[in-house]
Symmetry: C2
Subunit: 361 residues, 2 copies
């Protein structure tokens, strides 16, 4: 298993002496900092990682020292920002080309690095970092799988946990509770439990709406395990389903299975997206699949990589992605079915085992 720094440097197209990764304040953290350092615990606000071909050094506040050392990272502790800046300037001395991670670096921290790297050229290497992060190693896959297992065991309990009259926030509470009881560090993103009209909004936030007979109930959630995310969506109907709800579900499920079926090493994401979209656009729900088919999954629930026509890319063995077509109709509701998959040579391995047959709860 190549070290993370080797995997990043092997993706670089130009010569780089060192890469500097910096966190701002939560939520503006650079997840690639955690990728490169292997640190599992802590926030590491205002901390820095210096990544070279030879290894990684963390400049850590005293607050996070223990977390850094527990992760086995080479650590230098600073007491003040001035001390941090001076240490960084010293380390970067003589380097001519410094890599920065523009996509996860604040502009204020760009200027801080600019100041510390006097005379050096700063070069955006976020694409190389993204490419390295896209291909998961065995440890990453095992962490994602564990997150998926916790999520799916929770999903299987939905018919018992959710019932008519329950509020969306209560249902979300039940899911989070189960995931954490099963060993999750927490939810990997804010759990979405939406009922009825709320299901028509893909990024809905649970509110006080109560589940009524005949309503769609959508759950989009995932466990976080050792910083890695799972991301699952299942949709049900409460008590009794209408013909239109069944049809909507059937169309989305067929679209999702077609997309999964199209995945293998070397396929274009666009082709996978089209496999799903073709089925939805060939149904009465034409034009109602308003987002892309999937996204990368890893340290972030929206990791680099996508299954999309707009942001087309070639899927490669070792990538972990979501497959999540959906149909949304205002004032009626929506259906989304989402699984997490690992791209393999000939196809893909589905990491989320929760059942997805149409189910009335």
């Amino acid at each position: 298993m190549a070290t993370k720094e080797k995997r990043i440097f092997s993706q670089l197209k130009t010569e780089i002496d060192a890469i500097v990764l910096t966190n701002a304040s939560e939520p503006n953290l650079d997840l690639s900092f955690f990728y490169a350092t292997g640190i599992v615990n802590g926030l590491f606000e205002d901390c820095v990682a210096i990544v070279t071909r030879r290894g990684v050094e963390v400049l850590s506040s005293e607050l996070e020292e223990l977390s850094a050392r527990l992760a086995g990272a080479k650590t230098t502790v600073f007491q003040t920002r001035k001390e941090r800046d001076e240490t960084l300037a010293k380390r970067l001395k003589g380097y001519e080309r410094i890599g920065i991670n523009s996509r996860e670096l604040t502009h204020a921290n760009y200027q801080f690095i600019r100041k510390c790297a006097k005379g050096a050229r700063l070069k955006d290497v976020s694409e190389a970092i993204g490419k390295a992060r896209m291909i998961k190693d065995a440890q990453e896959i095992s962490r994602i799988k564990k997150a998926c297992d916790i999520t799916c065991r929770t999903a299987e309990e939905i018919p018992e946990l959710v019932r008519e009259g329950q509020m969306e926030t209560e249902a979300a509470a039940e899911l989070n509770y189960r995931m954490m009881k099963l060993g999750a560090a927490g939810p990997s993103f804010a759990t979405n439990a939406s009922f009825g009209p709320g299901t028509a909004e893909p990024h809905y936030v649970p509110a006080s709406r109560r589940l009524k007979k005949g309503q769609l109930a959508l759950f989009d959630f995932g466990a976080s395990y050792k910083r890695y995310a799972a991301d699952l969506t299942r949709t049900f109907v409460c008590s009794r389903a209408s013909a239109k709800q069944k049809e909507m579900y059937d169309v989305v499920l067929r679209a999702q299975l077609a997309a999964i079926d199209a995945i293998h090493d070397g396929v274009r994401g666009k082709k996978v997206d089209q496999a799903a979209r073709r089925i939805i656009d060939g149904s009465r729900f034409k034009g109602k699949f308003i987002h892309s088919t999937g996204h990368g999954l890893g340290l972030s629930v929206h990791d680099p990589g996508s299954i999309s026509s707009a942001r087309d890319m070639t899927l490669r063995e070792g990538m972990v992605l979501t497959v999540e077509p959906g149909v949304y109709e205002r004032n009626f509701g929506g259906v989304r079915i989402e699984d997490d998959i690992l791209v393999t040579k000939k196809g893909c391995r589905i990491l989320t085992s929760a059942p997805k047959e149409f189910l009335v709860i």
Copy 2:
């Protein structure tokens, strides 16, 4: 109640035609986007807010359109990034000075704004935005108070929820569950439940450690309510306490009360920090209070503002801050006591009502 855009513009020291706020992918969101737009739901990845003295316009993806409209924001929907970029360029045409929020803007998005704002000068206005966000209006205070109330009702249940033999992750699950059942959208940050040696690490992440007799048990958690955060810490001892644990608790509590006592409109944060630090450094735990006394609280659990010697500032009426001294001793444990307060003319209003007498659970 002045609009958010008026409050931001009133803090500017130079002439600015418009401020552009942009989100990248989660977690790299600009919380000031949500501040300026008033949007409560959704992620709004890759979406843009254009803020002028006359109002706010959101450039939204179709995915988030409903959330934007529900919030009553003036909204223009884009289908592709190209469309978004062209719309932004059109809106910014003729403007000479564009404000950017460097502290929450990715460097990649800085370059995107740079491209769209041809000919204009980009000026960092993050300090002005931070100053506006520091002084909370009535609606913000009421949301924070609600988040605090949910958090405190949960804290009061800790003696029943937590018991010997329970894992840290299970205890964290119980707290999150209770908060959500009481109406929280979720935890405002990853709940920290730490037992024994884990309490010595301020940013500990709960693991599979089980609570044993005689151990310290520290809970740092908060509810999120309509995007606003609470942040509370309470520390207990399981079953029976040692004299040293009691002494540690007593020192921290005295330090915290001294800090709270020192707060009023016009006081320097440094003075408040020193009030707490003096007590700890005058005890056998000298030098073991390894972080600052408090931080701003609002849309982020680490909002602009601090009670700190290193980052000194004057506390003003309407600011909401945490007061959270702590003492940490490796291989023994730590105690932290944290409340959220609203600075008033003559003192402060404590927003978190949970009891903080020394308690064996």
